[in-house]
């Protein structure tokens, strides 16, 4: 039995090789070895292995038939024919490709642009053309401005105001943007170096009045123009803002760093703390009422019953009714829980 092992091994590896080659030939690999190469390698392996197998078995006394030897010879001749044919074909292809390479140009002699311009000159011409276009742009600007110029009904201060508003919207998402807005809203007093509006006074900044495109007439006070511009801009932003909870959450996430930078703890305590604390306390009390959603859906600030919720004494303990109507309006918009979360986060941030 032991002397049969090499024989069995040979047959086994022969079969395995057949199987492997079969798999190899049928798999299409991307960017791979071409079929011809695969066939050549397989044929070489097979023929070697086959020869060794046949030779081994014949030495052992099996397969000593003339037919076997004939078959082996025929197979080797077929192999030689196939290999020679492939060599001939691939050599043909090689010479053809070599000729293409010589005519189309190797990388050393790629032909540069065949227009009249080399790239350096082209850059100069483009540069000069852009300068010329700028001149044409000035011409258009002068003509159009002159056509819109009506000194009697629209003043230069308004021109500045529109320009400032444009510049402001371009700066959105930066610290300077927020500094400018918060300074204008809290009305920074340069003389006393302090903010004039804190706590509930902030409500007087916007209130119910919508800033129309206000005519600043002939004022030349740049600070006044600047403040009016920012407030008009911010009012428009508030009115147009997307008040969905998702947008508010992401807006807060994207901009809270600027808010925290602007308000130091002392500024926050002076300007914001009162309102934030009140809003949180009130909302906490309201959330304890089991039917507050129903109440909000049925009543609002214009109903007399509104200010008896959650109870008259509690409402009366606050100077302003504003925080109560605030939560009603937020409930209507569907963003009350998001805003409550944000307020709590702010309160916690400044408690440390």
């Amino acid at each position: 039995m032991k002397d049969k092992i090499p024989g069995l091994l040979l047959i086994g590896s022969l079969l395995l090789t057949f199987f492997a080659i079969y798999l190899w030939l049928i798999t299409e690999e991307y960017d791979s070895i071409s079929v011809e190469v695969k066939m050549l390698v397989s044929a070489s392996f097979l023929s070697l292995l086959g020869l060794i197998t046949v030779h081994y078995f014949q030495n052992k006394g099996y397969l000593n038939y003339g037919v076997i030897n004939l078959f082996v010879l025929l197979f080797s001749i077929a192999f030689l024919t196939g290999a020679s044919f492939l060599l001939f074909a691939s050599y043909n292809t090689y010479t053809k490709r070599l000729k293409t390479l010589k005519t189309s140009g190797s990388l050393e002699n790629v032909i540069l642009s065949n227009s009249g311009f080399n790239t350096e000159d082209a850059q100069i011409y483009i540069d000069l053309k852009e300068s010329r276009n700028r001149l044409l742009g000035y011409e258009t600007f002068l003509k159009e401005t002159a056509q819109n110029y009506a000194p009697s009904d629209y003043s230069y201060a308004n021109v500045i105001k529109n320009e400032l508003i444009n510049q402001l919207s371009n700066k959105a998402g930066t610290q300077t943007y927020w500094d400018e807005i918060l300074n204008s809203v809290y009305v920074f007093d340069t003389i006393n170096n302090t903010y004039k509006r804190g706590g509930y006074e902030i409500m007087y900044v916007f209130g119910n009045d919508v800033y129309p495109n206000e005519d600043l007439k002939n004022t030349t006070d740049m600070d006044f123009i600047r403040q009016k511009s920012v407030l008009e801009y911010w009012q428009a932003q508030l009115l147009d803002a997307d008040r969905t909870p998702e947008n508010i959450a992401s807006f807060w996430r994207d901009n809270k760093a600027f808010f925290y930078t602007f308000f130091s703890k002392s500024q926050y305590d002076r300007l914001c703390k009162l309102v934030v604390d009140d809003l949180i306390t009130i909302k906490g009390k309201i959330n304890e009422q089991p039917n507050y959603q129903e109440f909000y859906e049925n009543y609002n600030i214009s109903d007399p019953i509104f200010l008896t919720f959650p109870d008259k004494a509690f409402v009366k303990s606050y100077k302003y009714s504003w925080p109560f109507s605030f939560w009603d309006r937020r409930y209507e918009e569907g963003n009350d829980s998001v805003i409550y979360k944000i307020l709590v986060e702010i309160q916690k941030h400044y408690q440390n």
């Binding site: 010879l73 020679s84 060599l87 053309k129 276009n133 001149l135 011409e139 600007f141 000194p151």
Partner: protein, 263 residues
Amino acid sequence: MKKAAIIITVISIIVSAITFFVIKKTDEIMDEISLVEEVNISIDATTKSIESSIDDYDDNNKYYYKSIALDQKQYVEVNECMQFYINGESFENGNNCEQKIVDAIIQKDGELSLIKSITGDMLNYTNTVVSLNVNYVRNLILSGERKTYLKQKLILAFVNRYRDPIKLQRAFTNNKAYFFNLISKDVYDNLYKQYINTFLNSYNEIHKNEDVEAFYKDIYFKAEKLNKQDEYWFYTFWKRRELEKNDHVIYTILNEINTHYTK
């Protein structure tokens, strides 16, 4: 038979090895060919994009707008001046209007930038060639007299500042480095060389005569009699410069430019 089979098999394996080698070499050549093709395609694309950047064919109807930041005083002044223009009246009805507007432009971008814009305005751009518009100056003067060509009026107003030889020399000295750097020798040869040489040659031709005045008289006579103003323009140019007393400065400047680019 077996021996033959073995020998033939060995030879086949050698032939296979050679074939494998040839196939590999062919692949390398294929890679280089396709790389060359890729490079050619990308050069083609760059060329097309350069050509279309330069080509002015579509640009003539394009809308350009460039605002100038004016302070309040300028805003009022410039717009008051521009009202004459919009109403089709002459700027002369106003007070130094063209100069005021030019001042506003210079304040925004600087003098150098305006000179560069005028330089750019003097060229004709097509997608195959860029050339100097040799009638630019004459067209400027002629059309600037019409009431509706704002750009030409403003350029003339700016250029007129430099008829004074001292101002001209100073402006040239201050700005020449920039322009020598901007305009390469190739671009100079393509656009300006011939034009500047015409000026230099005509000046030399005039001044090799002993009696320059007589020469001018003759030229002016011929120009009027034979109606050849255009042909003699390069000569009458120098006469007008002589009257403005800046002919020598201009000749020196043109000579310096020519020398710089023929080194």
